[in-house]
């Protein structure tokens, strides 16, 4: 639209695109890890500028998509525990199906379930309505975890005892490690998430080139950012010089944001977490520390994390999240599973790869 900033310049995009065509010397697969990249690639039609032998695959970087069924069901269960419990969540969670129900359906039945844009809003609700218990669904990666941690620290400081968090936060590098150690790995390079890297920096990705010999570039979200990152990955592949590079230099520093990490690890500790599509990944989740256990909904409601229920029949979200198949290769895609009647979370979230592929019709017609 009118805001044709340099990062949306069609001539610049076209000249990078031409170079990319020249630099693809064999079939190449690149995974864009983050859901925001998936959306941007689809929205700007970036595939239209790439040679057919270069495949972009979506990764596990959609927070709603990788939240395990068990976590969603446990969270819905908290809402049923008592009448004065209010569930507070990001909007994307509302429509995720969970064995015959969803937060949206529970709300229609009369449960008090509210949508917010930040955990601080949930904290303020709790302060305003002290007679109710507010349980915030903490999802997301290193990007959102510091904000949620801060809301818990604030609750403690201000003595707001009716605010709690169900933490299902996850860490990106362990999921990448899980993908890289899979025997059917076919990915040549990674477009790494810009926002997550703002917090963690580039160092935690070192294992990608060093142990697995794959290219890695931390990318911004504008179309020219993404095209430049693809070119940088191709340069790494062609020269054999694999490393973690930062394309998104205007925001990401190699050492990330130390202050945000301090807040995050003041409240959270690392533990094994269950990911949709992956199962349990060691040391990949953030859980509330003992010193903040008063604000831990899983303790307050005495929840034990149970086995994840099986995926809905035919749903291949797991394979999509691990980059094994493209969304339209799922049997349900666009047929039984559409945004208006989603079967799996990848079709629900605005960052879900199935939703992005469907919305922008990225499939062979």
């Amino acid at each position: 639209m009118m805001a044709l900033r340099g990062f949306r310049d069609p001539e610049l995009a076209s000249s990078i695109s031409k170079r990319i065509w020249d630099k693809v010397l064999r079939p190449i697969k690149i995974m864009e890890v983050c859901g925001t990249h998936t959306m941007s690639i689809a929205r700007f039609g970036i595939r239209d500028l790439l040679p057919p032998s270069l495949t972009l695959i979506s990764g596990p970087g959609c927070p709603v998509c990788v939240t395990s069924q068990g976590d969603i069901e446990a969270y819905i269960g908290i809402g049923s525990a008592s009448d004065n419990t209010v569930l507070v969540t990001f909007g994307d969670m509302m429509r995720v199906p969970a064995r015959g129900t969803s937060l949206q359906k529970e709300r229609a039945k009369g449960k008090d379930i509210r949508v917010v844009y930040s955990p601080m809003e949930a904290l303020e609700m709790a302060e305003r309505e002290p007679e109710k218990r507010f349980v915030f669904m903490g999802i997301g990666f290193e990007t959102t975890a510091p904000a949620v941690a801060f809301s818990i620290m604030e609750a403690k400081r201000r003595g707001i005892g009716n605010y709690m968090v169900y933490s299902s936060h996850k860490l990106v590098p362990p999921a990448l490690l899980a993908i890289l150690s899979s025997p059917d790995l076919s990915i040549d390079g990674f477009i790494l998430p810009g926002h997550v890297s703002t917090i963690i920096g580039s160092d935690p990705y070192g294992f990608i080139p060093e142990e697995y010999g794959r290219a890695a570039v931390i990318a911004g979200f504008e179309p020219v950012d993404i095209l430049m990152s693809i070119e940088m990955i191709l340069d790494q592949i062609n020269s054999g010089d694999r490393k973690v590079e930062i394309q998104y230099k205007r925001v990401v520093r190699p050492d990330g944001n130390r202050k945000a990490r301090e807040i995050m690890y003041e409240v959270f500790e690392v533990g094994d977490a269950s990911w949709r599509g992956f199962g349990v990944i060691p040391r990949s989740g953030l859980f509330i520390k003992e010193s903040y256990s008063d604000f831990d909904a899983s303790k307050a409601f005495a929840l034990s994390r149970t086995e994840d229920p099986p995926e809905p029949k035919g749903c291949s979200c797991g394979d999509v999240l691990r980059g094994l198949i493209l969304p339209y290769e799922c049997k349900l895609f666009g047929k039984a599973c559409k945004p208006e009647s989603p079967v799996g979370p990848c079709m629900v979230s605005s960052e879900g790869s199935c939703a992005a592929y469907y919305k922008y019709r990225v499939w062979r017609e």
Binding site: R8, R43, D48, L49, E340, Y358
Partner: protein
Amino acid sequence: MEGVRDELVLLAHGGGGKLMRRLIEEVFLEELGGSDLNDSSILDLDGVSGKLAFTTDAFVVDPIFFPGGDIGKLAICGTVNDLAAVGARPLWFSASFIVEEGMRISDLAAIASSMAAVTREVGAKVVAGDTKVVPRGKGGELFISVSGIGVVESEIPISGAGAKVGDLILINGPIGEHGIAVMLARENMGFISEVVSDCAPLWGMVRELIRSGCEVHAMRDPTRGGVAAALNEIAEQSGVCIEIYEGEIPIRPEVLGACELLGIDPLEVANEGKMLVFVPERDLPIALDHIPGGRAIGRVIDGPPGRVYLKTAIGARRIVEMPVGEILPRIC
């Protein structure tokens, strides 16, 4: 005695008795005009010839006051624009008010007053009305349902089915302002930026366009579902393929910024003062002369019927899909 405008709406105001009578006389009749309270209005068709257009719409916007307008202005503009989209001059409106107990009557009067202002501007009248009061917590402060009758003034019928290959698609200004203004007001996200709704009646513009002799093949006001929904509807109804150019679509930087922050496609955001106009290329100069702020954003091309393409900012092409559900509920 205090004026009724200093009071709050009571359930009794909907009871059909003296209190209701006072509310109607001192608020609705005073603002919207009229005097006789019969069960039906008798409408005089003298001076009205041609086909009548009839439309109805309910308004549930939250909050009821937002930057650039309020639910009353929105209700009349929405009705005027639905009539204008088929080339009809608005004549008569009805308005039903579903009021939640406890609403300030001064707010109700302010809303009736902004309905009156738009009604006067387009030369129409509110000729029928109704008021109901629901208990506190059972409504959304105020819902308004408006119906409108107009007379078709265009010689060639205008609909969504008349778009032809070669037509240019024009819009009269930047997109996405209403939806984002309401969203930011509702979620207290004014910190992102101040966005003002584009809520406005478009009959004046459409009248000038029709009278200019410009051949209008199709029109639609891109309200809920935004430009994406309106163009998909026209592509389907007309059985044509549409291509629009991202670089040509006007949008204010603050609206684009808010959309990107919220992860919303501005093409899917509601407008309340915009019209998409399809004209043959030869009529472009005359159309631009009569559409203030107008610009061409795309054209009807040879291609699969029912399909809408976007040439994106970076020169790539993608499909513009019909929006699935409401991204932003209670926007109008």
